[in-house]
């Protein structure tokens, strides 16, 4: 890992239809690191992620991926930026009419000139990496919630992107599968230098993989640092409560 900044968030204020969810956030993600967005349920993790990938334009501020603003980009330029990253949505967002393998093969079919044979093999390989080798020919509706999630990770990885955005990859997975996914993320980050931006509140997995984390609270960054450090040396009460899994006190500010 080096200090090169691959994603820059500058004064981002974002929300939905006039409702502000995130207020004036600024942070950087460095190339090759595993960056975790922590926060309680409804704190805006998914919103932040969707703004980072340019799904919604920011109200104020901007997000730069490799120095480029995706919201402003168009045409070929935009396509080029889009190919730098893969995204796994919180709900998986698999296409219901296609099998898992077809889901993974879809970006290969649309964005590469690989022959069919290669796409099939590659899709199976990716599925195998997330432990779904045997389920390649199942439809999403015939699989479990955790399997859909892993297949969505496989689809996000299909084009070997340099950055992977994962929205709660390990929520709802059993400890063994979740550990397997963590291991895969670590290997990809170590051997391939892939940058990860992961929204999560599974603390066990955050400790295992996270290089750096920010904690969202009330639309702002409540803390930033190494997950373990935040746990052991919390800068404020909310951070302490979050990492110690204390219930929020009724009068907490």
């Amino acid at each position: 890992m080096n200090d090169e900044k691959i994603i820059g968030v500058r004064g981002l204020t974002a929300g939905y239809a006039g409702r502000v969810i995130l207020r004036d956030l600024s942070f950087d993600v460095r190339r090759g690191e595993i960056f975790i967005i922590l926060g309680g349920s409804g704190s805006g993790k998914s919103t932040l992620l969707k703004n980072m990938i340019g799904l919604y334009p920011a109200m104020v501020g901007e997000v730069l991926i490799c120095g480029e603003d995706i919201v402003g980009a168009s045409g070929e330029n935009r396509e080029r930026i889009l190919r730098q990253f893969g995204v796994m949505y919180q709900g998986g967002a698999l296409f219901g009419s296609m099998t898992l393998a077809e889901n993974v093969a879809l970006p290969l079919e649309e964005c590469t000139r690989l022959p069919r044979e290669a796409r099939v093999l590659l899709a199976r390989l990716k599925l195998q990496q997330v432990g779904l080798g045997e389920f390649a020919d199942y439809l999403p509706s015939e699989t479990s919630g955790g399997m859909v999630k892993r297949a969505a990770v496989a689809r996000a990885m299909a084009l070997d992107p340099g950055i992977l955005f994962l929205d709660e990859p390990s929520a709802g997975l059993d400890p063994i599968t979740s550990a397997g996914l963590d291991e895969l993320i670590r290997v990809l980050s170590r051997d391939y230098g892939i940058t990860f931006v992961i929204a999560s509140h599974e603390l066990a997995s955050v400790y295992a993989i996270g290089d750096r984390a920010i904690l969202l609270e009330g639309g702002c960054i409540a803390a930033e640092g190494k997950p373990m450090q935040l746990r052991d040396d919390p800068p404020n009460d909310y951070v302490r409560a979050f990492f110690r899994r204390e219930p929020e006190r009724a009068h907490a500010t």
Partner: protein, 378 residues
């Protein structure tokens, strides 16, 4: 990463030294590079006299596509019972390469369906169909019971939500019903006026339009518009709820989906359709009169003729039908919605089915009414 293409450098070189073939891969093995050399590499593997060695020492990135290429080569040579070796793959890609489970990649295990004989398949189809009918009969029963219960306890109706349904199915349908009815009245009057003028009886076009619109076309056109607008909307709405497991959530909360979802909609259909039908009759007749005025008849004459020809029986006959049409269209929409299977495509299917079944039943019912009215001399 993968976005930077591998440049101009050729990623593959093939060398045959004696019987053995050497494939030399170099540079970035991303999808673009692999796509450009795939057929050449696999072709070399197919035609290699003896084993194949792949030299990967100069590979500085191996993405998924690169692994897929290596696997394809390995598979090809394995089938031909020739030797295959990968050499010099950099350590950081080695781990991933070795983790690949060859067996599972080779033959995707397609879950085999058991084959049954003709008799079994026919039997299964019949049983399935009978089951479906039973479900539909149960649905009709449950809706009827639910409506009856509402009659006893009108407070059980969630009025605010019901009113939204009524607005959508009724108020919002006014413009399209008006347009279609007016045009129907005009077309009919126009088509009939020409031949009837030859016999000098064109004033009787008014009688014809009044009869046809009130007895048949008013109720029928309204019901068909309702099937296309609201029956399909009900099916899509409930179908989406089914797919999102909202219907399952209702069931586990102890609420009957039929009572909760279907009964208010059917009630809305029953209330809205007759009103729309009357509206359609008025506008349809107006359309007919409009054409007659264009053809030179004074309004007073036309109104006089109309008051002589319009019979309350005809209007009633049309209205009675429309109650049933409304119930059928709304009921079919809800039923198809509740029958929705899994996945987004299933919602589309049930929407289609709701319109097809709805229109079919309307026409069927109309025929039944024609016979019944005839027998009753109504």
């Amino acid at each position: 990463m993968a976005t930077e293409t591998s440049g101009q450098s050729v990623p593959l070189r093939v060398e045959s030294s004696g019987a053995e073939t050497l494939l030399m891969l170099a540079g970035r093995l991303d999808d673009a590079a692999v796509a450009s050399c795939w057929s050449k590499a696999v072709g070399a593997a197919r035609t290699a006299q003896d084993g194949v060695r792949v030299d990967c020492a100069k590979v500085d990135f191996c993405g998924g596509a690169g692994f897929a290429l290596l696997m394809a080569l390995e598979e090809t040579l394995h089938e031909r019972r020739k030797s295959f070796a990968v050499e010099g793959l950099p350590q950081r890609f080695r781990a991933m390469y070795e983790q690949i489970d060859r067996k599972k990649l080779e033959q995707p295990e397609v879950p085999q369906r058991e084959e049954f004989g003709l008799v079994t398949s026919v039997g299964e189809a019949v049983v399935g169909r009978v089951d479906e009918w039973r479900g539909e009969a149960e649905f009709v029963g449950e809706v009827t019971a639910g409506l009856a219960r509402l009659g006893h306890e009108p407070r059980r109706l969630r009025l605010r939500e019901w009113w939204v349904i009524v607005e959508k199915a009724g108020t919002n349908a006014l413009p399209i019903v008006a347009l279609i009815s007016f045009l129907m009245g005009m077309i009919m009057a126009f088509q009939a006026a020409m031949p009837m003028r030859q016999f000098g009886v064109d004033i009787f076009v008014v009688n014809l339009v009044a009869l046809a619109i009130t007895r048949e076309l008013g109720p029928l056109m309204t019901a068909i518009v309702l099937a296309g607008r609201s029956g399909s909307a009900f099916a899509a709405e409930i179908g989406t709820m089914k797919v999102n497991e909202e219907v399952a959530a209702l069931t586990t909360m102890g609420l009957s989906p039929v009572r909760f979802l279907a009964v208010p909609r059917v009630l809305a259909g029953i209330v809205v359709t007759p009103v729309l039908t009357i509206y359609s009759m008025v506008i349809g007749v107006a359309g007919g009169l409009f054409v007659m005025m264009m053809l030179g008849f004074p309004l007073a004459t036309l109104l006089h003729q109309l008051s002589g020809s319009l019979k309350i029986d005809d209007v009633l006959a049309g209205l009675i039908k429309s109650f049933f049409f409304g119930a059928v269209v709304a009921g079919v929409g809800c039923m198809r919605g509740l029958q929705t299977g899994a996945g987004a495509a299933a919602v589309g299917d049930s929407t289609t089915r709701s319109v097809v079944t709805g229109i079919f039943l309307i026409v069927l019912l109309d025929a039944v009414f024609a016979v019944v009215y005839y027998q009753l001399k109504f």
